[in-house]
């Protein structure tokens, strides 16, 4: 038996460390604090995860007030996995950030940067562990506001517009979520998610519940860049500092998907979400359009970061398709892809961060001959790219395989064509970069200039993970399977 206060610590550590960073002016010291905090968050998440793996649920009640009256944190295998994923990737990206950030951001601003980073992490972990719908909204706002700041730190002045655009869209999303939560509260008089689920009227058509669901899906859809609500994402990822792009791509959208899962399955229940409301149809349609159109748009991008930002929109499409299949297999595939894609996309954005650090630009043309100038960086990019395409032996293949199986189980053969097309389109855009890096020579021969080890090491850790989870799937598939079972099990 472990102390449930660990849950609390996971969130409060970054929350307390954030203002401390603000008071210290030295960027290096701030980084050290942030690193200690994230790595302890990660260890806590690992302990909690191993606990819920054996015992199922861990709960912490604030001030000793039992669930419906007080706020409670509640972790089962689903959010245990997400918390572990988020804190692990944040730790790795933070190692990368030390060199990358001191290159991109002025020293006097670095303490603000790390403050925002820690707030964002606190928000993301808070969303993940809380069992209270309103609390979730509050943490969502904390993480969103912090991420607007983080994006605005980008060197390019367009980072400001990107951040502003995200702020407007994000606020609309947050408002929708708040309205949804408000409607639920009005209907049931409680904010605890398990309690709401128990009190929602069953078996009768309830307009308020339907409206609440609609508001929540649109609101969360904005946060997770569900097509066609993704317009903020490409600019945000492109112009944000390299480390931030990787951080947000690997964690923020994943947490948003978790929120969606939590509301659909735990709060509203499977039957209400997919049988009473036509969410399966909506998700499958939007997912297909996202996979095809975002991949197609990615092909024509000249800025490589932007290319992979669009690719993120497409990959989110796969996860949404998995959800829309509205079966246990589909849900498993969704969670699995969420898990695998975090490592893959994190690896790609870190490799691009190395490129930005050394070559100063991530435009396609600047990458000519990069395969010779930065062999380790581009090798990492190539491997992560193969994983994104879904070549066997990689994590990407495993998630596509399970998506395949889920689609066949439903006899949706057309879905196979969509998945295959998505893979082929991703092959095209990945290969545009590969060809440029390996088969073109720069206009004037330049000598080798590999990124420093402090950038390469975290990049390769993520790339290694995206292959490791293609070979040893006991953790990823096993947990995704259990998580899907848990989520569907909530339904009455």
């Amino acid at each position: 038996m472990i102390d449930s206060q660990l849950l609390l610590l996971q969130v409060t550590l970054p929350l307390i460390a954030a203002p401390i960073c603000l008071l210290i002016k030295s960027g290096r010291a701030c980084w050290a604090i942030a690193f200690i905090v994230t790595i302890s968050s990660f260890s806590l998440a690992a302990i909690v995860f191993s606990y819920v793996l054996t015992y199922g649920v861990l709960e912490y009640n604030f001030g000793g007030w039992v669930a419906p009256w007080g706020i409670s944190y509640r972790v089962d295998i689903v959010n245990g996995l997400i918390a572990l994923l988020v804190s692990a990737i944040t730790t790795i990206v933070l190692v990368f950030a030390r060199t990358s950030v001191s290159n991109e951001i002025k020293n006097k601003n670095q303490s603000i940067f790390y403050t925002a980073w820690l707030l964002c992490l606190a928000g993301l972990l808070g969303i993940t562990v809380t069992g209270d719908a309103f609390n979730l909204f509050v943490f969502l706002e904390i993480s969103s506001l912090a991420s607007y700041v983080l994006i605005a730190f980008g060197q390019d002045r367009r980072a400001l517009t990107a951040s502003y655009q995200y702020l407007v869209m994000g606020t609309i999303g947050a408002t929708f979520i708040l309205i949804g939560v408000g409607l639920l509260y009005a209907m049931t008089g409680t904010l605890n998610m398990v309690d709401i689920a128990a009190r929602l009227p069953q078996g009768v058509t309830n307009r308020t519940a339907q409206t609440a669901l609609a508001f929540l899906v649109v609101g969360v859809g904005l946060k997770l860049a569900l097509f066609p609500l993704h317009l903020w994402l490409p600019n945000a990822y492109t112009f944000a500092p390299s480390a931030v792009g990787a951080f947000l791509a690997a964690t923020a959208t994943k947490v948003a998907i978790y929120v969606l899962l939590r509301f659909l399955f735990t709060v509203f229940g499977f039957n209400f979400s997919f049988e009473e409301m036509p969410l399966d149809l909506i998700f499958v349609t939007l997912g297909i359009v996202a996979v095809i159109s975002a991949s197609a748009v990615a092909i024509f991008q000249d800025n490589v970061k932007r290319m992979f930002a669009y690719s993120s929109v497409a990959q989110i499409g796969y996860m949404i398709i998995g959800l829309g299949l509205s079966s246990k297999a589909g849900l498993t595939a969704s969670i699995l892809h969420l898990f695998n894609h975090a490592w893959i996309k994190g690896g790609i954005f870190l490799a691009l961060g190395c490129v930005a650090y050394k070559l100063g630009s991530v435009r396609l043309g600047a990458l000519a001959g990069a395969g010779y100038r930065m062999p380790w960086t581009m090798a990492a990019f190539l491997l992560a790219g193969l994983s994104l395409i879904g070549v066997p032996l990689t994590a990407g293949f495993i998630s596509k395989w399970y998506l395949f199986e889920a689609a066949i189980e439903k006899d949706w053969w057309l879905m196979l064509i969509v998945i295959v097309m998505g893979s082929l389109l991703s092959l095209i855009y990945v290969w545009r970069v590969i060809e440029m890096a390996y088969l073109r020579r720069p206009d004037h021969e330049e000598e080798k200039s590999e990124a420093p080890l402090s950038l390469l090491l975290p990049t390769w850790v993520l790339v290694f993970a995206s292959f490791y989870f293609g070979l040893d799937t006991r953790l990823s598939v096993g947990v995704a399977h259990k998580a899907a079972e848990t989520l569907i099990g909530y339904s009455p």
């Binding site: 066997p392 395989w401 082929l424 092959l427 088969l439 070979l471 040893d472 598939v477």
Partner: protein
């Protein structure tokens, strides 16, 4: 059995060693040669245990429950891998002469990816289930891409795109779908004598599935998915010789054979009769590709179209699915490999020695390069399938298989193809020996480097030996068809 794993590790270790040894070309090539010999010996050492019926296997990992990455030695795989590893050894010898006198750049990268491609080929040969087969099949595509685009020119880039796009599109859109479907129908992907699909599917499903496999394995170059093979000819000649006459293309037809025998089972293919139309696709490929070859002036392109045509012999043998046809198809894998690689060696030698790539420029070249042209003649006879060379046996048994299945028209297709083979291959050495070329242009042309001559001598000699002693091949194939 651990030696199966070593068969993968030996070329892989070679790749690593070779890529680190840029500064010592002699050491690098000695290592390549040694590991080629070692690999061949390893493969041969498996033959006794295959002949006594115990099929040793080795599981590497199990990423998806029920679908392990597993290797197993069975007769078909041993034949294919023995052919490929032996010819790798010979090609390494040839490459030493070719790459050096051609002054090629990035030679270490070249040898390294070459070795990775061999690893993948061995993986295809010994795969114990569909998943493993697919894994190494894709790895083979990716590892040969840098070899195809080796020169980095605009033409190479364009060819590389064709290569990758056709091979990956077919494999993902058809092959993978077929694998998932098979898995869904039978709950397994393991290769088993007699197949795993019987009682699990309707005849229509069987036919559709088989077509997905046959077209999905784009490396077999069945029309209309053959265009990647002529495109791949921009690669340096050793690549065209070993990979695009032996390893890659034969991996394709080998996969079709293996799937026919171990997934569908010979009886099932014969009974359902839903795959007859594929026979006509294969026949059409045989004839059309030969006709196209007839019009090519570029020697390597001519050879490439000839390969497209010859590959469909093997596909045809697989679809006929009786013991004679399977015997013929299997023998043709080895026989055509040995013959065609000789032709490519000659084409490369001509390029190195005289910088000529066009057939029309080769008049009278036989007087300057008699040994090369003589070897070409031997290879051409073998590829055309005439005695006294090895190529004869494959064609002979395929013809018998066609008659067994009651398709005498296919015998006619084979004969027409033989005539076309003669028409586009034999004139090349004849013109080289008997026509007179512009003499002032020819001064200074000498025979190719000794390493090249040695390599083509070995393969030409092997074609001859295989006509008189095809016995070992028979013994191995009998294990499967009975």
């Amino acid at each position: 059995m651990i030696s199966l794993l070593f068969i993968l590790l030996v070329p892989l270790a070679t790749a690593l060693a070779v890529s680190r040894l840029t500064a010592w070309p002699n050491v690098r090539e000695a290592i390549s040669l040694l590991s080629g010999g070692f690999l061949f010996a390893l493969v041969l050492s498996l033959i006794p245990s295959v002949l006594d019926g115990s099929q040793p296997s080795y599981t590497i990992a199990e990423p998806i429950a029920g679908l392990p990455i597993q290797l197993r030695a069975e007769p078909l795989g041993v034949i294919f891998s023995a052919t490929a590893s032996f010819l790798w050894l010979v090609t390494t010898l040839y490459s030493i002469g070719y790459m050096r006198s051609h002054g090629a750049s990035n030679q270490s990268r070249f040898y390294a990816f070459f070795a990775v491609a061999i690893t993948s080929t061995m993986g295809v040969a010994f795969s114990a289930n569909l998943f493993t087969l697919f894994l190494f099949y894709e790895l083979l595509t990716f590892s040969t891409y840098p070899l195809v685009t080796h020169t980095g020119t605009v033409a190479a880039r364009k060819a590389g795109r064709t290569y990758l796009s056709i091979l990956l599109t077919t494999s993902m859109a058809f092959f993978l779908v077929a694998i998932v479907w098979t898995w869904n129908l039978s709950g397994t992907g393991d290769f088993k004598i007699g197949g795993i699909l019987e009682d699990n599917a309707t005849p229509f499903t069987i036919g559709l599935l088989y077509a997905l496999f046959v077209f999905g394995i784009g490396k077999a170059a069945l029309m209309p998915f053959h265009r990647w093979l002529p495109a791949a000819m921009v690669a340096p000649t050793p690549v065209s010789a070993l990979l695009h006459a032996v390893a890659v293309v034969k991996a394709g037809v080998f996969a079709i054979l293996k799937i026919t025998i171990y997934i569908f089972g010979l009886d099932l293919i014969g009974e359902t009769g839903m795959s007859t139309w594929l026979l006509w696709v294969a026949s059409a490929t045989i004839v059309i590709a030969s006709l196209i070859a007839l019009q090519q002036d570029n020697l390597k392109r001519r050879l490439a179209y000839s390969t497209v045509s010859q590959l469909s012999y093997i596909v045809m043998g697989a679809i006929l699915a009786n013991s004679n046809a399977i015997l013929g198809a299997t023998m043709h894998i080895t026989m055509h490999a040995v013959g065609k690689i000789t032709l490519f060696f000659c084409a490369g030698a001509i390029l190195v020695a005289s910088h000529k790539t066009r057939v029309s420029e080769m008049d009278g070249l036989g007087r300057r390069m008699p040994f090369t042209m003589a070897a070409f003649f031997v290879g051409a006879i073998s590829v055309a399938g005439l005695p006294p060379l090895g190529g004869f046996w494959g064609k002979w048994h395929l013809a018998l298989g066609s008659l067994d299945a009651g398709y005498s028209i296919l015998v006619a297709v084979l004969m027409v193809s033989t005539l076309l083979n003669i028409a586009y291959l034999i004139p090349i050495p004849l013109r080289a020996f008997f026509f007179k070329g512009p003499s002032q242009e020819y001064c200074g042309i000498k025979e190719a480097p000794v390493a090249c001559l040695l390599a083509m001598g070995i393969t030409a000699f092997c074609s001859l030996v295989l006509f008189f002693y095809p016995e070992p091949l028979y013994q191995l194939v009998i294990e499967i068809v009975n």
